[in-house]
């Protein structure tokens, strides 16, 4: 069973001062960015019932939806569940009110990142944990001479099997080229 948003030592119920937590601009921003009619959520819990990740969540997805309805920006943006959602679309598919719940979670991730709830040092730590301490990632994955691969504990066996079975595709030069084969593309910010 998940712990329903309850941190160790906390009471299972949390008293919320609705007037104090309500951030109407947050409510409006989530509705605008996701394009969803959030008021139509009536807390049936179908999204959570089908969620494959709910046992790892700190706040189940239907409660996240409720936090958004209440305008509790701090609680909604600081929850870990946002980062454990795989966008598998089970919630969106099963919502009786046709809310794209996965897109709401997506938008909350964007907002949390912009508001500094996923700080850069944290992401860099994960990156280092996965790819080791030095140098650009691809040099490690491609296994260039002198590179030091330090994958996360438990990942090495699959890596070795991948190496033996997929040897050719992992070699240098077999990755898709950049657009137009250029470093910086034609027009626009990204291409």
């Amino acid at each position: 069973m998940h712990n329903s948003g309850q941190l160790p030592g906390q009471s299972p119920t949390r008293t919320v001062d609705l007037a104090a937590v309500r951030d109407t601009s947050f409510q409006a921003a989530v509705a605008r960015e996701s394009g969803q009619k959030l008021v139509s959520c009536y807390q049936c819990g179908n999204c959570t019932a089908g969620c494959a990740y709910t046992q790892n969540y700190d706040i189940p997805v239907h409660k996240v939806m409720r936090l958004v309805q209440l305008g509790d920006r701090e609680a909604a943006l600081s929850c870990r569940s946002l980062w454990l959602c795989a966008t598998c679309q089970a919630c969106t598919t099963r919502c009786p009110n046709n809310i794209d719940v996965a897109r709401v979670m997506d938008v909350l991730r964007h907002m949390a990142r912009r508001a500094g709830y996923a700080p850069e040092p944290c992401r860099q730590n994960i990156y280092r944990r996965l790819f080791g301490q030095r140098g650009p990632a691809w040099s490690r994955v491609r296994g260039r001479p002198g590179c030091r691969v330090r994958p996360e504990r438990g990942q090495a066996p699959a890596g070795c099997r991948a190496w033996s079975c997929h040897a050719q595709p992992w070699q240098a030069g077999s990755f898709p080229a950049r657009a137009g084969g250029q470093r910086k593309g034609r027009g626009g910010r990204y291409f």
């Binding site: 990942q155 997929h166 990204y190």
Partner: protein, 333 residues
């Protein structure tokens, strides 16, 4: 019989996985399409569709990455674009869906530095094989039926979801792969976890989550008596095949379940050589399952023949040999 059965021509967007870890999905898709008369025109100068990392960071960026590829696809002159990967499919379809909104389109066009595609959208290779070719034509083209092979088709989470966006098959009980593989002679084993999530990309940051979710799928397939799990997604395939050992070490159950792409199984049935289907790239080899299936099929045939012979031998014991018109009056088990 194996002559091209349709004249379908589509733009083909392989996607990054299919040029790397899922190269066998790409080559088996191309081989099957060629054998079934589906002409695939490669999208020139294609780039990453954005997939999950893009939409997790910025919806406009995700739209622009996908729209760029749809624009490239339009240069082939084909009406539709097809991709084998469900994640690419979702990215391309999501982009074309949201491009119908004027403000979203304006943002994407600013990022693209040019016009975004108007109408173009993508369909899955699975959909093309089912709807453009069809099970009947495939059954007619089969040279080596997969008789006796018990297959659990596994669709993954986003091949059919959300239904309004993907507009193909049933979101809870999809049957497209079932129908295609049944046409190839395989025995389809019904499994209740057709669309349950395999753990997706969490195998990297949270191995424990992937192990728990993939173990459910492998356990269920094993309990259903499957010889193999047919998949249509490169990420599902990686979790279930490459990481089968990792899943096994967490669940405490031993597995020897091959996880081929449905296009590889189709290719085998169509009589294409295994080397052209990338069978060697499967971590858990399919050979033992194929041998077991062939053995089982041989036993089944021998058993059926023995029963028929026994029935024939029992008949002369009757008063008179049955005439053709009176056979129905003597039903026998």
């Amino acid at each position: 019989m194996a002559a091209p059965v349709s004249k379908t021509r589509l733009a083909y967007y392989p996607g990054c996985s299919q040029s790397g870890t899922a190269a066998e999905y790409d080559i088996s898709t191309r081989a099957c399409c060629a054998a079934l008369g589906v002409e695939l025109v490669d999208v020139p100068d294609w780039t990453c569709c954005g997939s999950t990392p893009a939409h997790t960071v910025d919806h406009h960026l995700a739209g622009a990455l996908a729209a760029r590829n749809l624009r490239q696809a339009e240069t082939t002159g084909c009406e539709r674009t097809t991709t084998p990967c469900p994640s690419c499919l979702a990215a391309l379809r999501t982009a074309s869906h949201h491009l119908q909104q004027a403000d979203y389109r304006a943002n994407v066009e600013e990022l693209l530095g040019g016009p975004a595609p108007q109408q173009s959208t993508a369909v899955s290779v699975l959909q093309v094989l089912l709807e453009d070719v069809g099970p009947e034509a495939i059954a007619a083209a089969v040279k080596r039926p997969l008789a006796g092979l018990r297959v659990v088709p596994y669709y993954g989470c986003i091949m059919n979801r959300p239904p309004e966006l993907m507009a193909f098959d049933d979101p809870e009980n999809p049957t497209a792969m079932d129908r295609l593989l049944a046409a190839c002679g395989a025995e389809i084993v019904d499994s209740p976890f057709k669309t349950e999530c395999c753990g997706a990309a969490f195998a990297m940051p949270r191995l424990d989550m992937m192990q728990r979710l993939s173990a459910r799928l492998l356990n269920m397939a094993q309990d259903c008596g499957a010889d193999c799990i047919a998949v249509a997604c490169p990420l599902c395939q990686m979790n279930l095949d490459l990481r089968q050992g990792q899943v096994s070490s967490a669940s405490g159950r031993g597995y020897a379940l091959p996880v081929p792409y449905f296009t590889q199984l189709m290719g085998l049935a169509l009589g294409l050589p295994a080397a052209n289907l990338g069978m060697g790239k499967l971590v858990v080899g399919l050979e033992p399952a194929l041998k077991a299936a062939a053995e089982r099929e041989r036993e089944r045939k021998a058993d059926a023949e023995a029963k028929a012979a026994a029935k024939l031998a029992a008949k002369p014991a009757g008063k008179t040999a049955p005439k053709p018109g009176t056979e129905e009056a003597h039903p026998s088990g």
